[in-house]
């Protein structure tokens, strides 16, 4: 399932990049199904990076400081609800600058 989520995420990134709005509805629909299955998918792009975030694998370029931003997301963060409790099931893979 995670591989499917990653592929859909990647399709989404590519279509956003080329301003393709054509598939938005379908992607929304697929994401809705993921949510219904208990998956909570997060794209942390643009967020300030904190080392305390244990839900991402960060590749940090440049100097370490307080204003580091997540500039690229290669894989999204995925949580899954099991017995009403969230559990991390995939770490996001990100580039931080």
């Amino acid at each position: 399932m995670l591989e499917i989520i990653n592929q859909v995420f990647s399709i989404q990134l590519k279509s956003n990049k080329d301003n393709l709005t054509l598939f938005n509805r379908n992607i929304d629909r697929i994401n809705h199904e993921f949510e219904a299955l208990g998956f909570h998918i997060i794209n942390p792009i643009g967020q300030t990076y904190r080392n305390e975030m244990t839900d991402v694998e960060a590749n940090i370029t440049g100097d370490f400081n307080e204003q580091m931003k997540i500039v690229k997301v290669l894989k999204p963060i995925v949580y899954q609800k099991r017995n009403d409790e969230n559990t991390l099931v995939q770490k996001g893979i990100i580039i931080v600058e």
Binding site: N51, M53, L74, Y79, L88
Partner: protein, 828 residues
């Protein structure tokens, strides 16, 4: 006799912890981040100590405050000076931090007092003692050491159930992420012994990733982007290609994993080089990959040959070579060793966990000398008092947790239970601490706060902190009642309400729901689709709620036919000022209706009021007769009042024209709703009681089946179905209960149908049925069934039963027919 059971692989680059419990080994996962492995890495950031994955973050940036590979320095006088804390730290202290962190992985079981810790075969006495000391420092009272190659052999021997009669030689080839070791082991019926070992502390799988980037990916990018010197540039600190090195390294690592399984893989590049966007696929074949790593692999083979020859052995005297360490997934390694040495290469055990696995078997057989005192020691002697302050409900994505501490606490640590946040170990300053913690949107975020002493032992653990994100805000206003949508209930040939927003949710609200068209509407036809948004109890009848938005699409509005079964996407939004907005998208027509309720105008049709009253009236009348028969006069007189009220409204409506402009129809609608609400309350408990009774019957039947010995295998499924029965029954929602009954019935059928003999019961159940559509055919089948029964041919009987069922009238179709088109919403 109590055994040690706990085993730790304290590795150079990665560490693991496992537990032996009655024959099985369980390797624990890191609660923060999915993996079994904990990188053996510690970072110091002023008053914060970080262990494991997140410490690696600082490795490139702040190397002097990060300690890694300290295992190589165990037993030496060398210490690490850490500028950020202005202190010297010894390898023993660092190892003990790793061990303590591993102890956190163990969530079940007793307190950990004893452990088996693995060491490399090359460790001398001083190094071994240093490892023991680290164990004691981490709070273990008993530490037993075990050599890693021995542990790997144990894992292998336990897994393959080998009988070893005479003395044999094995080689353990351990190729990890950053180090390489090869050990010669002597095995006989009594013991395992490491005779010799060789290795390279600076050779590992990470070298492979670098080689892929340097020799395969970079040249291709250079060719395509027409640049030179890229490999040097991406690695330099002042690089203009920020982040590219890490991105490529990540892709190389994935490619490496893929190439261990497939003969070729593809890397997708989407990068900016000198303002030029390079989007490209690079195909890497296994042979390309192998050509690049071949020199490294050959290097390891030289070590194998060396360890054999310096012990005056020849290759044929080595019975097998066991592969462990993550890098041995690469097929070339196995292939080259086989070609070069002719030794049997065994890759049957999991290369990453073999050492800890074998060590756990050892720990499971090793008695512990620690006597557990009878008096139960209080686990956490609360020498500290804490007071915690935080906002329980918030709309922010970060919230402040503040804690006042009194007592001997020195350190603290906050983690989020879902594994997404770890503050690291931090120092308590001025009798307290404050921490901004990140929250998951729209979720209940639970936290664990540990107050620790100077040796990082927990003095107090607080598990009660939970922060709800997005559900409440002092400034927001909650919804006073459920907002629902009317949809078709095909089973009952009527419509019902489905909750969209729950009472108490905070405005503004927005939600997208997906429904299915329950009927086809041809373009241009009169048939219509109804979207009725109702404010009212989701458990009640649709006509008992207040319709706050009502819209009909008829065939005339459509650009194309709306086909039954296709998706209808409905997006609902309620603003803070309670404006209702709705967008509807019909998949089969590819048509979108935007913002169809922007004006809040109540559309009430007299015919609809009448229709709704008629539906309820017939129910009321039916109930009255029933109650009178049961001499339940009090109840029936209440119903009689209702009946009169409803008829009065009906009479009044007949006096009104459909296009009446006065507010009289609103008044009537209001009256109608109140009466139907009363009816709802009067009957709901009864309906629910009936559903619960049916549920219990179904459950009883199923339980009887599951209790049969041959059906034992269905028990876990059964337990799963009934796991939340309390919630369902207490919900008071008949649709939920009915769904549960269906689940029970499905399982019941599955069990019954798993054995042909069970069809005897079905056969007797159906043979006296009088509703067959084709009685002649049915008689013939019943005759066949009787014969089969006599022959005890239950397989044939099964087919007869299926055939007889097919002759019964189709109730689903009947229901569909009864459900008149104009009373349907068209949504399911």
């Amino acid at each position: 006799m109590k055994t040690i059971n706990i085993a730790i692989d304290l590795g150079t680059t990665n560490s693991l912890i496992a537990n032996y419990n009655s024959g099985a080994v369980k390797i624990y996962n890191n609660p923060l981040g999915l993996k079994q492995t904990l990188p053996s890495c510690v970072a110091f950031r002023g008053n914060r100590t970080i262990i494991g994955d997140k410490a690696l973050d600082y490795l490139e940036k702040d190397a002097e405050n990060v300690c890694m590979l300290f295992k190589r320095k165990m037993g030496t006088q060398e210490t690490y000076f850490i500028p950020s804390i202005d202190k010297e730290v010894s390898p023993i202290e660092l190892s003990s931090l790793i061990l303590k962190e591993l102890k956190n992985f163990v969530s079940d079981g007793d307190q950990l007092n004893a452990a088996v810790i693995t060491i490399p075969a090359s460790f001398d006495t001083i190094q071994s003692n240093a490892t023991k000391k680290a164990g004691y420092l981490a709070g273990f009272k008993e530490v037993v050491l075990l050599q890693e190659p021995i542990a790997a052999c144990l894992a292998f021997a336990n897994q393959s159930n080998l009988d070893i009669e005479s003395s044999k030689h094995w080689i353990v080839y351990d190729f990890g992420g950053g180090t390489f070791d090869v050990a010669l082991v002597e095995v006989n019926d009594r013991e395992l012994k490491v005779i010799d070992n060789e290795g390279d502390n600076f050779l590992g799988g990470a070298d492979f990733d670098n080689l892929i980037v340097e020799q395969i990916i970079v040249p291709q990018i250079e060719a395509k982007a027409n640049i030179t010197n890229l490999w040097k540039d991406i690695k330099s600190k002042a690089s203009k290609y920020k982040g590219l090195y890490f991105e490529l390294l990540k892709k190389a690592e994935e490619a490496k994993k893929e190439l261990s399984v497939y003969p070729e893989t593809e890397i997708e590049l989407d990068i900016d080089i000198n303002d030029f966007n390079l989007y490209n696929q690079i195909v890497i074949t296994r042979s390309q990959f192998e050509a690049v790593i071949a020199p490294k692999v050959e290097q390891t083979i030289t070590f194998i040959k060396k360890v054999i020859s310096q012990n005056q052995l020849i290759n044929s005297q080595i019975e097998r070579l066991i592969l462990i360490g993550g890098s041995t997934y690469v097929p070339l390694i196995k292939q080259r060793i086989k070609e070069e040495t002719g030794i049997l290469v065994d890759s049957s055990i999991d290369p990453t966990s073999a050492v800890v696995d074998g060590a756990a078997y050892f720990a499971g057989s090793k008695p512990t000398s620690i006597v557990v005192e009878e008096t139960i020691e209080e686990e956490e002697v609360s020498t500290v008092d804490t007071q915690i302050f935080y906002e329980q409900n918030t709309r922010d994505l970060e919230e402040l947790i503040t804690c006042k501490v009194e007592g001997a606490a020195i350190n603290y640590r906050i983690t989020r239970n879902d594994g997404g946040y770890d503050s690291g170990i931090k120092t308590v300053l001025n009798n307290g601490f404050s921490e901004f913690v990140p929250l998951l949107k729209g979720q209940l975020n639970r936290f664990k706060i540990q107050v620790l002493d100077k040796d990082l032992n927990a003095l107090k653990t607080i598990n009660t902190v939970a922060i709800n994100q997005g559900s409440y805000n002092v400034l927001g206003q909650p919804l006073p009642i459920d907002i629902c949508m009317e949809i078709d209930d095909i089973d009952a040939s009527t419509t019902r309400l489905e909750q969209i927003f729950r009472k108490g949710s905070i405005l503004p609200l927005k939600k997208k729901i997906y429904k299915t068209a329950s009927k086809s509407i041809l373009k241009g036809s009169e048939s219509n689709l109804i979207i009725n948004i109702v404010e009212g109890l989701s458990k009640g009848l649709p006509s008992s709620g207040l319709s706050i938005g009502y819209i009909e699409f008829s065939g005339k509005d459509l650009e194309d036919d709306l086909i039954k079964g296709t998706d209808i996407e409905i997006e609902l939004e309620i603003t803070e000022s309670r404006d209702l907005k709705i967008n509807v998208y019909l998949q089969s027509c590819d048509q979108e209706f935007k913002n169809v309720f922007s004006e809040s105008e109540r559309a009430i049709s007299i015919s609809k009021i009448n229709m709704e009253i008629n539906a309820v009236l017939s129910d009321v009348e039916h109930l009255i007769t029933e109650q009178v028969e049961d001499e339940n006069f009090e109840y029936s007189s209440k119903l009689e009042q209702l009946r009169v009220g409803l008829i009065e409204i009906q009479i009044e409506t007949t006096l009104l024209d459909e296009d009446d402009v006065s507010d009289q129809k609103y008044q009537l609608d209001d009256k109608k709703r109140k009466l139907i609400q009363t009816f709802d309350t009067l009957t709901r408990n009864k309906v629910i009681a009936l559903e619960i009774e049916e549920y219990n019957n179904s459950k009883e039947g199923l339980e009887w089946q599951v209790n049969k010995e041959e059906n034992e295998k269905y028990r876990p499924k059964y337990l799963k179905v009934i796991a939340n029965e309390k919630e369902v029954i207490n919900s008071g929602d008949k649709y939920l209960i009915r769904a549960k009954i269906k689940e029970l019935d499905v399982l019941h059928n599955a069990i019954v149908q798993s054995s042909d003999e069970n069809f005897i019961g079905y056969f007797f159940g159906i043979r006296y049925n009088s509703e067959f559509t084709d009685t002649k055919k049915a008689q013939k089948l019943i005759k066949q069934g009787d014969d089969a029964l006599e022959r005890q041919d239950y397989k044939s009987l099964k087919h007869v039963v299926y055939a007889l069922f097919a002759l019964l009238p189709d109730r689903e179709k009947d229901k569909q027919k009864q459900f008149k088109d104009d009373s349907k919403t068209g949504l399911r």
